[in-house]
């Protein structure tokens, strides 16, 4: 049993950037826009946080959000305003962000600059709970932000007028337009929200975990977040659970190593992806926003 608490702690820590990115992506996808450029938002946010994070942690996070928004603006212009294919534009944006951050990083001399990582904020009392206390209540502040996003996004989507309009845009854009909703404006806002959070996720990666930048350090987390949104059935609570499951699956590799099990490390690394494929197949047809990914909605 002694392995359970560290596993949970590692699971929550690993899940944090995934959850932040996936919460944002949930909003974008509910408005009918899939952001394949999320990976690009994350790496851009990570680089910005790395470049500015030495000043203050808050400045690092602000820069991360701004960088994510920078990528998001391009997606909004090409895919919402100009109605170009979301997947092509998103793929290009991921490549663009990986290329630009890699170039900047290497041109900057690739110094061994390290930024201070956020210390854990122990919540008094709660962090003493056996087994789960350390995992959920002694984490860096950004983790609490991540889990706070879950009810906030749920509240917005289900309990506000704007949230209703946003869901209408994703499910029935023509009806939404007839009801006076400005479809493109809603989609652009949703994209910007999602990409801003993508940037923040990258910031969390640098400022709460790695403490430094490495080329391509997003390592597919943007794509994982997109899978997590589908696994979570486009609902905030589902997305939170899926993030934790994913975090646990990824944390398992550390445990496998620590326990010295005779399982090849590379095989342990496959677990989250195999799990995702299996789960997506098992969940079957469901509840994706009706016009997700559609570029032209007039017909």
């Amino acid at each position: 049993m002694s392995e359970v608490a560290p596993l949970l702690e590692a699971a929550v820590r690993t899940a944090t950037p995934l959850l932040i990115a996936a919460a944002g992506e949930t909003v974008a996808e509910r408005a009918g826009v899939i952001n394949i450029g999320l990976e690009g938002c994350i790496i851009a946010g990570a680089y910005a946080a790395f470049a500015v994070g030495a000043v203050t942690t808050a400045a690092g996070y602000a820069a991360a959000i701004a960088a994510g928004l920078g990528v998001g603006v391009l997606l909004a212009v090409f895919s919402v305003a100009l109605r170009r294919d979301q997947i092509i534009v998103g793929t290009a944006l991921t490549m663009l962000a990986l290329g630009v951050t890699g170039t900047l990083f290497r041109m900057g001399g690739a110094t061994a600059l390290v930024v201070a990582t956020q210390p854990a904020t122990r919540l008094p009392g709660l962090s003493e709970i056996p087994l789960i206390g350390a995992a959920f209540f002694a984490q860096p502040a950004i983790t609490y932000v991540a889990f706070g996003l879950v009810p906030a996004v749920w509240w917005f989507l289900q309990r506000t007028h704007s949230g209703l309009s946003l869901r209408a845009v994703g499910d029935a854009p023509i009806a939404a337009r007839a009801a006076g909703v400005r479809v493109s404006a809603v989609q652009a806002s949703a994209v910007l929200f999602g990409s801003g959070l993508g940037g923040l996720a990258g910031g969390a990666l640098v400022l709460a975990q790695a403490g430094t930048f490495a080329e391509g350090m997003s390592a597919g987390r943007g794509f994982l977040a997109i899978a997590i949104v589908a696994l979570g059935r486009w609902r905030p609570a589902g997305v939170a659970i899926a993030s934790l499951v994913f975090g646990a699956a990824m944390a398992l590799q550390f445990v496998v190593q620590a326990l010295g099990w005779r399982v090849r490390y590379e095989l342990a690394l496959m677990i989250p992806y195999v799990l995702t494929l299996t789960a997506l197949g098992a969940l079957g047809k469901g509840v994706a926003p009706a016009t997700l990914g559609r570029t032209v909605i007039d017909q």
Partner: protein, 329 residues
């Protein structure tokens, strides 16, 4: 560092790009042309898939599976002698097709969005290769994370003595011409285009079995990506190792888009992107400019093409099923 890139250095940078990509015959025949081959093959496959409305972004994983299969056959079927290379390439195509079939089946049977499933399959393929070259397929001395070198019988011949240009170039050209002919001149090709352009209309005519057609296009694109991986092993690397592909599967998406999904144009687009990439490597070698800048340039080219062309906004893209989304049949 950044100040040092003044205008005076620009000439040096461009010169490095030129010498790295097209400027010398060895750069062109042994570098750029060789690099264009996998880009072209994967790009041709993706053109077929995209035309059918299938967004296969698993070219990288399918290529790696093909490379693995070719290595395996090359190492263990050397008794075949000179036809070992044929067996290796056939195995590569089958392996790539099989990897794509996983995603095609998940899409067809369970409505799993192929963008998500193919990305997951890419990750699995990368880890699978890591495992194999450090585990069961590692070379006998167990020092390097790679397989043994495949025997001569499993290698593609070089076209010109003294260059690294291999017979894979001919395969790529044949594949492009055949795919062009198939897509534009055959009934099956027409069904693929129709299924992608409008599955609803295609279904209503009663003459196109849309699910079967898109499944076939998906698998075919996987086969071509797998073939590209096999050709890379039997023509260039002669062994399997990690990072065998510098992202061919992803760059090929850009190649297919730039070619606007026309197989013959894919050849030119692949050549252009290969030039960019080998030129960028030259800039890194001789002028200290990071080669990863090529990735940003490729992305800018896609955005420019997509933004200016006015295409890529409706058919044949708009019809894929989102993960779990139901589509009226």
């Amino acid at each position: 560092m950044i100040e040092s890139f003044a205008l005076a250095d620009l000439g040096q940078v461009l010169d490095a790009f030129w010498r790295g990509s097209l400027g010398t015959s060895s750069a062109f025949f042994s570098g750029t042309l060789v690099r264009a081959i996998p880009l072209a093959l994967v790009g041709i496959g993706l053109s077929i898939a995209f035309r059918a409305g299938v967004f296969n972004i698993g070219g990288e994983g399918q290529l790696l599976l093909g490379a693995t299969a070719a290595t395996f056959v090359g190492l263990y079927a050397s008794a075949l002698g000179p036809i070992a290379v044929v067996a290796a390439l056939v195995a590569a195509g089958i392996a790539g097709a099989a990897w794509a079939t996983v995603a095609a089946y998940l899409r067809d049977r369970f409505g799993v969005f192929e963008v998500v499933s193919t990305i997951m399959l890419n990750f699995i393929a990368v880890n699978l290769v890591s495992y194999l070259v450090r585990g069961p397929l590692q070379e006998p001395t167990r020092v390097y994370p790679q397989t043994e070198i495949i025997p001569f019988g499993a290698r593609l011949p070089h076209l010109w003595p003294g260059t690294r240009l291999h017979a894979g170039a001919i395969i790529a050209i044949v594949a492009a011409v055949a795919s062009w002919w198939f897509l534009s001149r055959t009934a099956a090709g027409f069904r693929i285009r129709a299924a992608g352009a409008s599955p609803t209309v295609s279904r209503t005519t009663g003459r196109v079995r849309v699910d079967r057609v898109t499944f076939g296009a998906f698998v075919a694109s996987g086969a071509l990506a797998g073939l590209a991986g096999g050709i890379e092993v039997s023509g260039v690397t002669y062994a399997l190792y990690e990072n065998l592909s510098p992202g061919y599967g992803f760059s090929a998406i850009a190649v297919a888009i730039l070619a606007r999904l026309r197989p013959l144009a894919v050849l030119l687009a692949a050549l252009l992107f290969a030039t960019l990439e080998t030129g960028a490597l030259g800039m890194q070698r001789d002028a200290g400019v990071p080669s990863v800048v090529a990735l940003a340039l490729e992305a800018a080219i896609i955005l420019a093409v997509v933004g200016v062309s006015g295409g890529f906004r409706d058919a044949p893209w708009r019809t894929w099923r989102a993960s779990g989304a139901t589509v009226a049949r």
